[in-house]
Structure formats: structure tokens, C-alpha cells
């Protein structure tokens, strides 16, 4: 087994309030510990709140501002501009938000910040629903998945936020997850050395919201990639595509059969999901061939 040795500056500490086995704790550890102490972050309502802990305690050794739900991007931009005005442009400004706060209610502010290419890092912890409020659907919830607001399964597809961000021509947008830690860490280092609006969408398999055993978040992360449901890729400047890890020939059934949120699916619905995954992959491969970063 490969053992990762990753240089870390201790910023994220034990004593956080994440569910036992949550992938987000591991993801956050590498984001914060690589960005280090010369950073500040904004956190909207999300699982990040319990992860930080209640006043006067904090699991993070950097200043955190709990902003309003829809304002992560604009709040981060306000801090960055103020730091610049105070001659502290060297400070990293991070937004740490969930998919509800990003794909849904925060999208308008995010679009504006991306269009301005404000110098912030936006990490979207994407657990494909409003898990902190007890599993309601977001526009990131995939088709046919059960949530408490889509008890018969969600009818529409998951929104493709990578393409939306790429359409803003931001310097960097990528997908990542903790099943591919080396890839994730490389991406964090890469954006730390860049300027402008940078985003990583981290797939966070949710133990409670998706319904799988508490020790399976890493397995679920890997299966999401190996089945092609969540390919890992980067888009730079809106046009340069790099696929890091794609499907390995496993059917989507391998992934969805392990999750309670898909338990109600008919064979026909499973084929629909397979078809959607295949289409998405074909499109992504096509884009990567047309606009390869190495061309």
C-alpha cells in the first residue's frame, strides 16, 4: 500500500464536529494545512459550521468569517480587496462552501466574482445535497437520487458547475476527491501558486445523506471516478483541459448499488444513469481532445 507523506502546516486540528468517517474532514485537512497560517477563510452555513465548532472554540488556526449563505464569493472578494488596501495582498483568501451554498444560493455571487477574476480560492465541498439540514436536494444532486425533498428520486440531472466556471474563463477549476489524495494535494499546491479565481470541486460522499457504511467514504470516492460518474479533471483559463483520472470500465451499478439513496431504482433507471455517465464522459473526452492543456 502506498503511504502518503505530505508536508503540512498544522492549521486544521482534531476536535472538529464532522461525522465520524466524513471525507470532508480529510479534504479540509489538506486544503488548510497546505495553504497554511497566512490564510483566512469564509464559511457559509454548511457542514463547515459544525466542523469549525461553536464560539469560543475553533478547529481551525486561521481567522474564519461565518458569512451569509449566498455570499461566500462576494465576502471573500471583500476581504481580499481590503487586505490589498492594507498592503497584505500576500494573504490567501479561501471560501469553504458546500454545494447548496455554491451551485444554488451562492451561484449569482460566485458568477460575479469569477467574471471579475477576483483573487480568491473557492473550495466547494460537494456532497450532492443539503446534508447539513438533513438531506434535501440541491442542483448538484444527481438524477434519480433520493433526498427528503425528492422522495421519489430527483428528476433532473446534476448541474455541471465545472463547465459553468470554465465558461467564465477563470484561471483554474478542477474536480478532486479524497480517494485520489495525491491528485488532490497536487491540485491544492498548484492553485496556491496561482492568482485569480481558482476553484476545486471536491466530491464528498456523505455517509448519512447517501447511505453507506462509515468506513467507506474513500471507497465511494474511488468508485465515483472508476465508474466515470465523477471524473477528475482540470480546466485552465476556460479552454485547457486535463483529465487526471477517468472511468476504468466499471459499470455505474458498482457505485450506486452501495448507496441507500439509489435503493429504489429500477433496472431501467440504472441504465438511464449509465447512459448519462457515458454521454458526459464522451463529451469531456471530446473537449479534452479538442482543448488539451498539453497541446
Amino acid at each position: 500500500m502506498k503511504h502518503y507523506e505530505i508536508a503540512e502546516e498544522k492549521v486544521f486540528l482534531p476536535g472538529h464536529g464532522a461525522c465520524p468517517g466524513c471525507a470532508m474532514a480529510l479534504a479540509l485537512r489538506y486544503v488548510l494545512n497546505i495553504f497554511g497560517r497566512n490564510s483566512v477563510a469564509v464559511i457559509p452555513p454548511s457542514c463547515m459550521g459544525p466542523m469549525m465548532g461553536a464560539q469560543p472554540y475553533s478547529s481551525m488556526l486561521i481567522p474564519i468569517f461565518h458569512n451569509s449563505f449566498e455570499s461566500s464569493a462576494s465576502s471573500a472578494a471583500g476581504i481580499k480587496r481590503a487586505l490589498r488596501a492594507r498592503d497584505r495582498d500576500d494573504v490567501n483568501v479561501l471560501a469553504l462552501a458546500g454545494d447548496g451554498g455554491t451551485y444554488d444560493i451562492g451561484l449569482q455571487a460566485l458568477s460575479s466574482v469569477a467574471e471579475h477574476n477576483e483573487d480568491i480560492v473557492y473550495i466547494c465541498m460537494d456532497n450532492e445535497g443539503y446534508m447539513n439540514t438533513g438531506t434535501q436536494k440541491s442542483s448538484s444532486t444527481p438524477r434519480h437520487a433520493y433526498t427528503t425533498s425528492t422522495p421519489g428520486g430527483k428528476e433532473s440531472r446534476k448541474k455541471n458547475l465545472v463547465e459553468i466556471m470554465a465558461a467564465h474563463h477563470v484561471p483554474y477549476v478542477a474536480t478532486a476527491n479524497i480517494g485520489y489524495l495525491d491528485d488532490f494535494v497536487t491540485k491544492i499546491h498548484k492553485i496556491k501558486d496561482m492568482k485569480g479565481t481558482r476553484m476545486i470541486i471536491v466530491l464528498i460522499p456523505c455517509i448519512d445523506g447517501w447511505g453507506f457504511p462509515g468506513d467507506a467514504a474513500a471507497t465511494m470516492s474511488r468508485l465515483a471516478v472508476q465508474t466515470g460518474v465523477f471524473p477528475l479533471y482540470e480546466v485552465e483559463d476556460g479552454t485547457k483541459y486535463t483529465i487526471n483520472h477517468g472511468p476504468e470500465g466499471l459499470p455505474v451499478e458498482t457505485y450506486i448499488s452501495r448507496q441507500r439513496r439509489y435503493r429504489h431504482l429500477t433496472a431501467e433507471q440504472v441504465s438511464e444513469i449509465q447512459k448519462e455517465v457515458d454521454e458526459n464522459w464522451a463529451k469531456l473526452e471530446g473537449m479534452a481532445n479538442l482543448f488539451s492543456a498539453t497541446m
Binding site: 465576502s75 472578494a77 481590503a82 487586505l83 449569482q108
Partner: protein, 388 residues
């Protein structure tokens, strides 16, 4: 570039001069009629080298206020401007700003709220933000707009206050009307308003977090402190107005008294109706009617003690309100505020509340005289009266 000592300016441009002289460092502004010339003038100042600020042009007033809050927490002076729908879109974050104790200064061009659409002078937009924990000034002309922006910074940034402040002036009557405005020098303003450099700020060197989840007890304490800070504002704002007088010779008071000596009856108004009411008072006094005017310039905190002191022993108080709140005993906010201020007062006057000028309708001196004469004849009612 040297500033002229006096210029012909609209209310919007005068407010922009006030903001420029305060030298804010971050300015997130979203355009809206009739406020937009404030933002345009400020970007022009930046181009001329009169300002060195970070401008943010977000996609909405909501994001503009979000950036104001986080920038202010990071320890810089912040300015923004809005109107009507924009102010109401900010509503959630107006509460957030006072809760975060950020001394943001914002001008609001009072405009009717939709639906239906209109662009007319009406105080409902800002009056309906009265519980958000912002200081609220209402001004009646371009000079007062400029002066009040600077007084607002002086008051809001006082370490005992640290609350945001809103300066409201009516659409077009003030925002687009030209008057001669005296412009203080940058040196004079600098001597009045020290740089904003708060001890507690969002900074990795300090490691402080803001806005974390708190317990019920901590939340209660926080709200109590916010309220106590608001209670200190009247004295601090009064001092800021007096220091402004020492600097420029201009003073307004927080409740302006006009010919109130020996006046048995008092008209109460805010904004431009005060100017019209002065003409009405002059006319009525020359006709032997003992009526004076009190203009409420600081609406939040509401000058309860001052009004009790000033109005005790008067016969009648006639309130002219350009904003409406359906369901509050006839619909006048100012009427309710004055009545509740006077509750239990010995020798309290009879109180008459008129909705006058709502929707930007024109209030003439003759109209005001009519309403006063009507009040002298009739018994007062608990409900306010649509008086236009």
C-alpha cells in the same frame, strides 16, 4: 487636483464628495436609479487621483453589502450607496452588518418600493429597515448630505458605537436637485475624521474569527451589547455635529427646532418636507398661529428623550410622514414612533399623524397649513390619516 471651495452640486454628487473626503478604501456599489450618479462620481474621483480605493462592481446590492461587511471587518473604511429595491435586497445583510459591528456608511436615495414601479420620493424603503441596527439620518439638501456622510463616519466608527450608518435623502428632490455646496478641504476633513484602524480585525496576525455559532446566552449578550451601543449614539452623534460646527460653521442638531419658542403646536417631519414646512411655519406665525417645526434628522436611534423634553406642555403635534407601514394604526411609521415616545408623559400634547407626500406626491406650504388648521379644529385620533 485642488478642490473648489463651493460648487453647484446635486444631492448625489454632494454625497459623493462627502464619501471621497472620507477616503474609504473599499467601495462595492451596484447601480440603481436615482443613486447611480453617486457611484459614477466616485469612480471619476478615482480616475482623477482624488481617491485610492478598491472598487467592486458586483452583480447585486446583496453582494455589494456582503463585500462591505467583510471588507470592514478586515479593518478598512467602506462606503456604498443604494436606493429602494436595492436597499431591500440588502435587508438580510443589513442585520448582518450591525451584528458584525461594522461601521459601514451608506447613502440611500429614498425611492418608492415596488409594486407598482415608481421612482418617486418616499421614505418607506429605509423606514422599513428601522429594526436592522443601523443608524439612520434623514437629510433635506445636498449640503446636509455631504456634511452628514462625514458626521456619520465620525459617529459610526467611534469605538463605543461600531455600528453601520445610513444617510437617506429623497429621490430627485434631493438626489438630482442642484444647490450651492461648500466643500471642506481634505486637510480639514482629515483633522475631523482620523483614519479607521480598528484594533480588532480580520487578520491572520490576529487569528480572530467573526460570526461563529454561539449559545443562547452569548447571543443574548451580543444583542444586548448592540442595543447598548445604539443607546450611546445620540450623545456621540451630537458631539460629531458640534465638532463639525467648529470646523465648518455648519450644524444641524439631531432634532432641528425651527421657531419653536412660544409655539403651542409643533409640526414634525423628516427630509425635504421640513423645508416646505419652514415656509408654512413662517406664514402661519405671521398670521398669528403659534406653530413651530421639529425636523427629525436622526431617526435611529429615535430621539425619544429629546422629544419628551421638547414636546411636554405643547398643545398639538402634527406629524407629516412620507413613508407608510400598512397595519400600524393607520399606516404612519413616524406617527407610531412619536406616540410611543410620548407615552406616559405628563402634559403630553395631542398627536395627529398624517401620511403626506407618500409616493412622492407634492406637499405645498398651503397643504401643510391646511393640515395644521384641520388639527386645530378636530380631536386627534389614534389612527393616522391619509392627508394629501
Amino acid at each position: 487636483m485642488k478642490l473648489k471651495d463651493a460648487m453647484l452640486l446635486t444631492g448625489n454628487h454632494a454625497a459623493a464628495y462627502g464619501a471621497m473626503l472620507a477616503q474609504p478604501k473599499v467601495m462595492p456599489i451596484y447601480p440603481i436609479t436615482p443613486q447611480t450618479p453617486v457611484a459614477e462620481k466616485l469612480t471619476e474621483f478615482q480616475l482623477q487621483g482624488l481617491l485610492d480605493a478598491e472598487f467592486i462592481t458586483p452583480e447585486s446590492e446583496h453582494s455589494a453589502m456582503a463585500a462591505c461587511i467583510s471588507a470592514s471587518l478586515t479593518g478598512v473604511r467602506v462606503f456604498t450607496a443604494t436606493s429602494s429595491q436595492g436597499l431591500m435586497l440588502m435587508h438580510e445583510l443589513l442585520h448582518f452588518a450591525s451584528g458584525a459591528r461594522t461601521p459601514i456608511v451608506m447613502v440611500n436615495a429614498n425611492r418608492t418600493v415596488a409594486s407598482p414601479w415608481g421612482f418617486w420620493a418616499d421614505h418607506t424603503d429605509s423606514l422599513s429597515q428601522r429594526d436592522t441596527g443601523w443608524l439612520q439620518y434623514y437629510v433635506e439638501n445636498p449640503q446636509e448630505a455631504l456634511d452628514t456622510v462625514l458626521q456619520a463616519y465620525k459617529t459610526a466608527e467611534n469605538p463605543s458605537v461600531l455600528l453601520p450608518a445610513m444617510i437617506s435623502y429623497e429621490a430627485f428632490y434631493v438626489s438630482h436637485s442642484l444647490e450651492v455646496v461648500e466643500i471642506p478641504s481634505q486637510e480639514a476633513v482629515d483633522s475631523y475624521l482620523p483614519p479607521f484602524d480598528p484594533e480588532l480585525r480580520f487578520d491572520p496576525e490576529q487569528g480572530r474569527s467573526f460570526g461563529n455559532v454561539v449559545s443562547q446566552e452569548l447571543y443574548y449578550r451580543h444583542r444586548k451589547q448592540l442595543s447598548q451601543a445604539m443607546d450611546k449614539v445620540f450623545a456621540i452623534a451630537k458631539d460629531a455635529d458640534e465638532k463639525w460646527k467648529e470646523l465648518t460653521g455648519r450644524t444641524y442638531g439631531l432634532v432641528e427646532r425651527y421657531k419653536c419658542e412660544n409655539a403651542q403646536h409643533i409640526i414634525i417631519a423628516m427630509g425635504t418636507i421640513s423645508g416646505t414646512a419652514r415656509a408654512a411655519v413662517d406664514k402661519m406665525q405671521s398670521d398669528g398661529i403659534p406653530v413651530g417645526l421639529m425636523k427629525i434628522r436622526l431617526f435611529r436611534p429615535f430621539p425619544v428623550d429629546k422629544l419628551r423634553q421638547e414636546l411636554a406642555g405643547r398643545d398639538k403635534v402634527i406629524i407629516l410622514d412620507r413613508g407608510s407601514s400598512p397595519g400600524t394604526g393607520g399606516g404612519s411609521v413616524l406617527h407610531q414612533e412619536v406616540k410611543s415616545s410620548l407615552y406616559g408623559l405628563k402634559n403630553a400634547p395631542e398627536v395627529y399623524g398624517y401620511l403626506a407626500g407618500v409616493g412622492g406626491t407634492n406637499i405645498t406650504p398651503e397643504k401643510i397649513e391646511d393640515l395644521v388648521k384641520r388639527s386645530l379644529k378636530e380631536k386627534s385620533t389614534t389612527k393616522s390619516i391619509w392627508g394629501w
